[in-house]
């Protein structure tokens, strides 16, 4: 849908500010080093916190003796889980598992290595860390379980004995005639792939400052956070009224992509601030963050069966997804739910059986990560497409093109109940193949092979469900009746005629100030750089759900556009009143109003009337120029029925084409060429979308080749610092060619779709595809991410050794 810019036809370009190459507003302060992060927030009498971990994966806490620590100069207090459990409520849990309780500190039992058992509060962080050495922790080791399949067995140790099972969630869905389709298909094949536990690991760890004002009975929270309903959750756990918690959104967040949830931290620090009547700060160090910051992503095993015909038509799929949630529930199990909204990817698969299982184990608790579980599912789906191609000896791309939903089939209802909005997958493929000069790419691949290298071309196509609805909550938990996931924006035009917009969230690099000022500027026809975007605190805010689920272009952009439209209508009404003509005859142009008869009224006159001259306003019109909008997710609002629900308003598409090469002995994959085709509908700011996509691909390279929170058999985290948790650097991330295409969404204000998860959703699948293509001649395959250099070299060595033995 093209937004109607006014009564005149569009001139040379469709938009004046939207989609134009404009600087990102936030970048000015970030590039100059003038961002205002949580660590920049200081208070004179602030107390500092360090957290004492227990290093056993499962243990009973027998005693904690903090007397020596409390005797130290500068130590203020030591707080344990036993103290908390008497004073606060458990953290909110989206599932119906009331016996899986979680508190900020371990209560009675430690459930993963590194779990925090007590918090030391001192005059400085250094003193608090030193004091930890003087706390005596007595524990009795308990049996533990790390593997999710083992956790399902009857004889497994229980992570939460009261829950009487390690299963948090086990839902079976059958959408369509799966058995019939399998019976009718020419072939079927089965495989298993595993997505390793990786995350986003921002450079800035999580941080929070809490202050309690006893005279106002107010808890002020500043945090490096990206969490829906943060203030509500803090108030709930601390037993405060909703209007006793004030979360300040004007803190820059140094990276998140899902993981900066910080709820246990904020509840703990809020409790301490109230108890001690002092501002209290916790900023995780890297070890606290990596081991116990609730910042690990999905760890998921897929068992997949696909039924298909000789001509490559994929008829049906059975998928069992077993996710290792770690020690507590959190929102992690819902990450099995989001992929239901795009369970068939861009393909016309007619029926699907899906089993989603989430189990507790003695690993760190999992939290949301970019894509909320979609990237692992895309990896499984794309592996299926590659396996079917190999089985039929059919070109991998041709197979995909054969199964794609065609552009004239939209809106397209998938078996699990979601309706895809729009797309033109075939065209994106064609454009990418042309841009990447595919025949040349194949020639390069062949030449590399001739030169003794292993080389392969990887392809992956996938969807990015966007708009950030939360329909998976009622789908996975019948007691949860969430049907809205709104977002809001307020706009005020002051008496001097300048525009200020309010948004009600923190941002972690998504450029929301740019988004909102561009959208409002476009609609009001004024320079976005003259529009100020501010972030009030949660008590001055309208309801919202924070930047999750690739939603803000659609939802915050949508709310801003709708609020601006309301203002524009009022401005036009004032103009029409002045010019004594019908509002439909007003030709609105930013800065001046022209009527059909050539008379005009200026912007300044409108402002003057609205702010000072109610006698110049139409009868009954309120003074001032202010508006707000609380927007419901387009197409959302229904509860699930028969295991089906429509989930997301918009579906972005991406196609990755990569060339990977490596020496067969060393096995270190190098990405020689990377092209991505990306269609996220109408782009609001091109620099933001490109940045998201490049960053997402870098993140995906990490997931495919390097990053993993790896535990050894004793339950110890082996990758708890950047020595071992490897992230892609400029050495590993190649030049990326980005091919943009635009299929507008019919459901959004400008036709925009989401792009906050782009790149990451398909890059791991594409790189896996390339490596498996490279080694296909050896009859080996890699079915677990990350595909580490050592695994590649070992497996090739074993395969070639075996061949020379048998040859």
């Amino acid at each position: 849908m093209v937004h109607d810019m006014g009564s005149k036809p569009m001139r040379d370009k469709k938009y004046r500010f939207l989609s134009q190459p404009r600087r990102v507003v936030e970048d000015r302060r970030f590039v100059a080093g003038k961002g205002k992060y949580i660590a920049d927030y200081d208070r004179a009498d602030m107390a500092h916190v360090a957290l004492m971990p227990c290093h056993l994966p499962a243990a009973r806490i027998d005693a904690i003796d903090a007397s020596a620590a409390l005797d130290m100069l500068g130590v203020i207090d030591v707080v344990t889980g036993a103290e908390l459990v008497a004073a606060i409520d458990p953290l909110m849990n989206g599932l119906d598992t009331p016996k899986v309780r979680r508190y900020p500190l371990a209560v009675g039992q430690v459930r993963y290595a590194g779990e925090w058992v007590c918090a030391v509060i001192a005059e400085s962080r250094a003193i608090a860390e030193d004091a930890i050495e003087h706390i005596r922790l007595e524990t009795t080791a308990l049996p533990y379980v790390l593997d999710p399949e083992q956790a399902l067995r009857d004889d497994s140790p229980l992570v939460h004995p009261d829950h009487n099972s390690n299963v948090l969630l086990d839902k079976k869905f059958v959408w369509g005639p799966v058995d019939d389709d399998f019976a009718a298909a020419d072939h079927q094949l089965n495989f298993c792939v595993t997505w390793g536990r990786n995350s986003t690991v921002p450079i800035e760890t999580f941080g929070v400052v809490a202050e309690w004002n006893a005279w106002e009975q107010m808890l002020d929270i500043r945090a490096s956070v990206q969490m829906p309903k943060y203030a509500d959750q803090i108030a709930h756990a601390l037993g405060l009224a909703g209007n006793q918690v004030r979360v300040h959104y004007d803190i820059d967040v140094g990276g998140s992509y899902g993981v900066k949830r910080g709820i246990k931290h904020a509840v703990l620090i809020g409790y301490l601030a109230r108890k001690l009547h002092r501002p209290v700060r916790l900023i995780e160090d890297r070890l606290e963050n990596m081991r116990a910051g609730d910042a690990h992503g999905p760890e998921r095993k897929f068992d997949v069966s696909v039924a298909f015909d000789k001509d490559g038509t994929v008829r049906s799929m059975k998928m069992r997804a077993l996710d290792n949630a770690g020690a507590y529930a959190g929102r992690a199990p819902f990450q099995l739910g989001k992929p239901i909204g795009a369970i068939v990817g861009p393909y016309r698969i007619g029926s699907v059986a899906y089993q989603a299982i989430s189990v507790t184990t003695n690993k760190a608790a999992q939290e949301a990560v970019r894509g909320f579980g979609q990237a692992p599912t895309n990896y499984a789906l794309e592996t299926a497409m590659d396996r079917v191609s190999a089985f039929l000896d059919m070109d991998r791309l041709a197979l995909r093109q054969h199964n794609f939903i065609k552009t004239d089939e939209f809106p397209y209802l998938i078996p699990s109940g979601s309706t895809y909005d729009s797309g033109d997958y075939h065209t994106v493929i064609d454009k990418v193949m042309a841009a990447a000069e595919y025949p040349k790419l194949v020639a390069t691949c062949n030449q590399l092979r001739k030169d003794g290298m292993m080389a392969g071309i990887g392809i992956a196509t996938c969807l990015e469900p966007s708009g950030g609805n939360s329909s998976f909550e009622p789908l996975l938990n019948e007691r949860n009746q969430t049907t809205t996931w709104m977002e809001s924006c307020q706009i005020n035009i002051d008496a001097l005629g300048t525009v200020t917009a309010r948004i009600h969230t923190t941002s972690s690099g998504q450029g929301h100030e740019t988004l909102v000022s561009t959208v409002i500027g476009e609609i009001l026809g004024i320079d976005p750089d003259s529009i100020r975007v501010v972030r009030p605190n949660s008590l001055e805010s309208l309801p919202g759900n924070s930047p999750v689920g690739s939603r803000m272009a659609i939802m915050l952009g949508g709310a801003a556009a709708r609020a601006a439209e309301k203002l524009k209508a009022k401005i036009i009404a004032i103009a029409a009143h002045h010019l004594q003509c019908d509002a439909t005859r007003i030709d609105y142009q930013g800065g001046a109003m022209l009527s059909a008869n050539g008379r005009h009224i200026t912007w300044d006159d409108i402002i003057e009337s609205a702010h000072r001259q109610i006698h110049q306003l139409p009868d009954g019109m309120d003074p001032g120029l202010a508006s707000f909008d609380i927007m419901q997710v387009p197409t959302g609002g229904d509860l699930p029925k028969d295991g089906k629900v429509h989930m997301y308003p918009c579906y972005s598409f991406e196609f990755h084409l990569v060339l990977v090469a490596f020496d067969p002995i060393i096995g270190k994959p190098e990405i020689r060429s990377y092209t991505i085709g990306h269609d996220c509908g109408t782009v609001i700011n091109p620099a933001i979308v490109s940045g998201m996509t490049y960053g997402g691909i870098a993140h995906g390279i990490g997931a495919a080749l390097l990053e993993e929170f790896a535990y050894d058999e004793s339950g110890q985290l082996m990758t708890q610092s950047f020595l071992d948790y490897l992230m892609p650097s400029s050495h590993e991330v190649p030049d990326i060619q980005l091919v943009k295409y635009c299929t507008p969404s019919p459901h959004t204000v400008f036709g925009q779709k989401g792009s906050g998860e782009s790149g990451y959703l398909g890059a791991p699948a594409a790189i896996s595809s390339a490596i498996n293509h490279a080694v296909a001649g050896l009859d080996i395959s890699f079915d677990k991410l990350p595909i580490r250099m050592s695994v590649i070299s070992d497996k090739i060595a074993a395969a070639t050794h075996h061949r020379s033995d048998s040859g």
Partner: protein
């Protein structure tokens, strides 16, 4: 993470002298690398406090040592368990002392350990090397103890 290592050292003292030395907390405090404190809390039980540096991390470790299955001066079993800022550690070792004649004896050991926390997560790559290094340091100090007790 699991660790296991074994070795054998020859020392220029008779088995009984060696035995007496390795169960004497005062001597052990001098010869165990990084040992801040070693005191007996029972007939064959000790409390030990160490300050160690492993790879990029340093910190303290406090633990209990217990000797059992003791057959002086020929063999015994040792268990260690404790924790500190470096992490946790548990281990057991079997030690055999043999008379090699000429006033010499040999000491053989086989040890299994399980470490967790910082030392496992950050020091993993060098942990075996560090364990060997510390063992070597222990025996060097122990030998010095016999040749020149005042300097050890």
């Amino acid at each position: 993470m699991k660790l296991n290592f074994s070795g054998k050292e020859t020392i220029d003292v008779a088995p009984q002298t060696l035995w007496d030395a390795v169960i004497d907390p005062e001597i052990l405090q001098k010869v165990v690398p990084g040992c801040r404190e070693m005191r007996a809390v029972g007939k064959a039980e000790y409390i030990m406090a160490l300050d160690l540096k492993v790879a990029a991390v340093g910190g303290s470790f406090e633990g209990k040592i217990a000797l059992f299955d003791m057959h002086p001066p020929a063999r015994c079993q040792i268990t260690v368990s404790g924790e500190g800022t470096l992490g946790t550690g548990t281990g057991s070792a079997s030690v055999v002392i043999a008379d090699e004649g000429d006033g010499k004896s040999s000491i053989s050991y086989e040890a299994d350990g399980d470490v967790g926390g910082l030392v496992a997560g950050v020091g993993q790559r060098v942990l075996m090397g560090v364990a060997k290094h510390l063992t070597r340091q222990f025996f060097t100090s122990l030998k010095k103890q016999f040749t020149n007790p005042s300097t050890a």
